[in-house]
Amino acid sequence: MFKRFHPYATPMHFHRLAMRLSPWLFALSAVLFAAGLTGGLLLAPADYQQGESFRIIYLHVPSAWMSMLVYLVMAGAGGVGLIWKVKLGDIIARASAPLGASFTFLALVTGSLWGKPMWGTWWVWDARLTSELILLFLYLGYLALQSAIEDRRAAARAGAVLAIVGVVNIPIIHYSVAWWSTLHQGATVSKFDAPSMATSMLIPLLLMALAFQAYFFAVLMVRARCEILEFEQHTAWLRAEVSGDPIA
């Protein structure tokens, strides 16, 4: 089954595809950001308990979701690279790691800024906050591993194993608020009941989540192209591409 995708999963095809896709993705994320921010910061009503301060949710929750989604993309791509020896998998995994680390950092910082006025503390060692911090360390470990190993193939292999082992942390982050008593509240949107959030507040949140996703994939395309340029610098197709004389 995977054989059919092989021709498209070459760095050459992906390089061209990414070049075409990224401006559209950037434009899409700009539109979504404009809509989400207007909806969240101006149109949504203040919360009954937290007043205006709850609006940081429009940054905090999408970044936290992205921190987990990007990890799954990274581990998935790493796994594809490891099992099927698809070079593109290694490239995608390597390109998404710094983005995931940034989203995780953003989730932790915005959470801390939210925690101080609401809970009365910047940080507590409860299960949710601690498992999210471990996620940041997993990303940083992956990045350190990538820069420590000279040979790119070996680095990709080692990184993929680390990423796959770390996947176990993702369900822990998600269910931490249900499994243990935590200071962090339970899930609002991703549960089996209807989301416990007024629709006028929920729609901007979902728009922001989509905006973050579009932004991630847009930047991923750019980063992946940079990785391809480095990875493939000695290949004939890339030289032809750069010198502007098509071979295909």
Binding site: I57, M118, V168, W180, T188
Partner: protein, 150 residues
């Protein structure tokens, strides 16, 4: 074909093994991963005595008493089964309200009163405009008598 299948199996086993190991570790440390003890646990003596621990619950409506001329407050915490009295001196967080969930850090005194050093407010996962919250509270208040007669 064969090496690829083998890699798939090895990675599958790696994921399952990690999941199993983690589940066992988390199971073993379950009690330590709890951020706070409930009031029922505290009353039942499951909470540590003689050292700090955290207690969580809802502030009983009408239980908050402020001592005149100071920052000391007394209130009762409950998990709807057992109640524990708490004494605290200091500034309470903005979200501290009667009926609200809080987590207090401190020690249980011999008289069964929890002496808190720190009080953190917990907020729930519900987000709604004030008008909706008021309407919900009204419906709940109206529904209350009928539930009692049942």
């Amino acid at each position: 074909m064969i090496p690829r299948r083998k890699r798939m199996v090895v990675i599958g086993l790696l994921v399952v093994g990690m999941g199993l190991a983690t589940a066992l570790i988390l199971q073993a440390f379950n009690q330590n991963l709890m951020y706070f003890y409930s009031t029922s646990d505290t009353v039942a003596g499951k909470a540590p005595s003689g050292r700090d621990f955290r207690i969580g619950g809802l502030v009983v409506k009408g239980s908050l008493q402020r001592e005149p001329g100071g920052l000391s407050v007394r209130f009762t915490l409950t998990d709807l089964h057992q109640a524990v009295d708490v004494r605290y001196t200091g500034i309470l967080p903005d979200l501290f309200r009667e009926g609200q969930g809080i987590v207090a850090n401190g020690q249980l005194g011999r008289d069964g009163v929890f002496i808190a050093r720190e009080v953190l407010a917990k907020h729930d996962e519900n987000y709604m405009p004030p008008e909706v919250a008021a309407a919900l509270a009204l419906t709940k208040a109206n529904a209350q008598p009928s539930r009692e007669t049942r």
